[in-house]
Point group: C2
Chain length 228, copies 2
């Protein structure tokens, strides 16, 4: 489903270029549950942004379901992002002036889903993450972990076939983290959703069937794990 | 050094009041290293905001080094925050349009420290968190964990006697987290800095000599730990 070949990403910030990704070859198959680990600054979020069609590599190619993403125009990439991909951002990226419910509805608005159906599906997503009782709240009225869970609900509401989650449990206590990972696991096992999840916590990586380790913009380890 | 008595915090968001803190009695002694744990939404950040003089309780009193904080005016509280307290925010709260170095310098600007001395001390703080090579970068050019480390450096630069850190390792890999906790431990042991740290990770809480657990706005456990 995903094929990155020779991917590099260089940022030009100030005087010195930053080689965020140096050479990435990566194949991910439909229905896999992959954890990405690595030190702070090693390139994980940059990799996720490319996978999520939010950014383009400086060199190399990205084939998503056989389609060369670099050949697509802006609208086509937006359409893929909205239809196929759910993205939980490391910084949440919620709209500050709208409610939790409206934040979760956003992907459905882009998809043209009618208002009543939109609200119904968004409420389901919010209750899955334990926030049904806070749908009217704005992000600044929510705790850090509650904001993170709104971001998770928004990523799930469009029934994506690919879920990209960048540190989705970073602000959650252990028990809430395990609840969320249980949701992801069920989606992977029962709905066949492909999941790529960045985490720095080994207990969270344990839910994945494959662990990819990044260091200084390269993949230094790619390990399949046997699960019962 | 810190005495909270009968502290309550009620938010009025929409139709239903939110009892973020219901009844908090808490005493913290000079030089202690306290971890605060609890579920997402249980009131930890609200408690930290009151301790950091950024917010006032709805009821109850807060004595900081024997001074009744509620008796102080806005300027006096700002002066305490700048002089005595270092705060690492759960959401970092960096200024987006200025460099990492300038973000770290901010508390020193408020304290009236001259420019050369300011830059020198800020560079030391950035190198302590491993970001000396990125002082010119703006927050949007930094990874999540790098932004978190800039926030940590900023909290330390004014040599505070009280460090309040809200999930300071939430975006950091295990090794970087342990490096940061080593810095905090050294400051506590050698400089006698009082540290109150919110975390959801038991391995991080292990660095503390006391663990306070919050649930639904109340303290349900307060446990001192023997350390070698
Ligand atoms: N400005 C506000 N208006 C309304 N409710 C608020 C506001 N700020 C916080 N709350 C609510 O108060 C409760 C406690 O929030 P707080 O941020 O202290 O939780 P927390 O323990 O830090 O959670 P987390 O671990 O998710 O960061 C939550 O239910 C939150 O939604
Ligand atoms: N817009 C940008 N301009 C310059 N450098 C950037 C930019 N975005 C990211 N970087 C740099 O690229 C490198 C990789 O960043 P990335 O966000 O992918 O790291 P990460 O592995 O997600 O880290 P973390 O675990 O801290 O979130 C870092 O050194 C970062 O500072
Ligand atoms: Mg990242
Ligand atoms: Mg919090």
């Amino acid at each position: 489903i995903i094929e990155l070949a020779g991917v590099e990403k260089i940022y030009f910030a100030g005087s010195v270029p930053v080689h965020a990704l140096r050479h990435i070859d990566l194949e991910i198959y439909r229905g896999e549950f992959v954890a990405i680990m690595g030190a702070s600054g090693s390139g994980k979020s940059t990799l996720m942004n490319i996978l999520g069609c939010l950014d383009r590599p400086t060199r190399g190619s990205y084939f998503l379901e056989g389609v060369d993403v670099s050949e697509l125009d802006k609208d086509q990439r937006a359409s893929i992002r909205n239809g196929k991909i759910g993205f939980v951002f490391q910084g949440f990226n919620l709209l500050r002036r709208t409610s939790a419910l409206e934040n979760v509805e956003l992907p459905l608005i882009y998809s043209g889903v009618p208002a009543a159906e939109r609200a119904r599906r968004s409420r389901i997503a919010l209750s899955i993450v334990g926030l049904a009782h806070r749908e009217e709240s704005h992000p600044n009225q929510l705790s850090g972990g509650q904001q993170q869970r709104v971001a998770i609900a928004r990523a799930l509401v469009n029934n994506p076939s690919l879920l990209l989650a960048d540190e989705p449990t970073g602000n959650l206590d252990t028990r809430t983290s395990l609840e969320i990972m249980g949701v992801f696991q069920a989606l992977n096992r029962d709905a066949g959703i492909t999941i790529i999840l960045v985490t720095h916590e080994p207990d969270i990586a344990d839910f994945a069937s494959r662990v990819v380790t990044v260091r200084d913009g390269r993949i230094i380890e790619d390990r399949r794990v046997r699960r019962v």
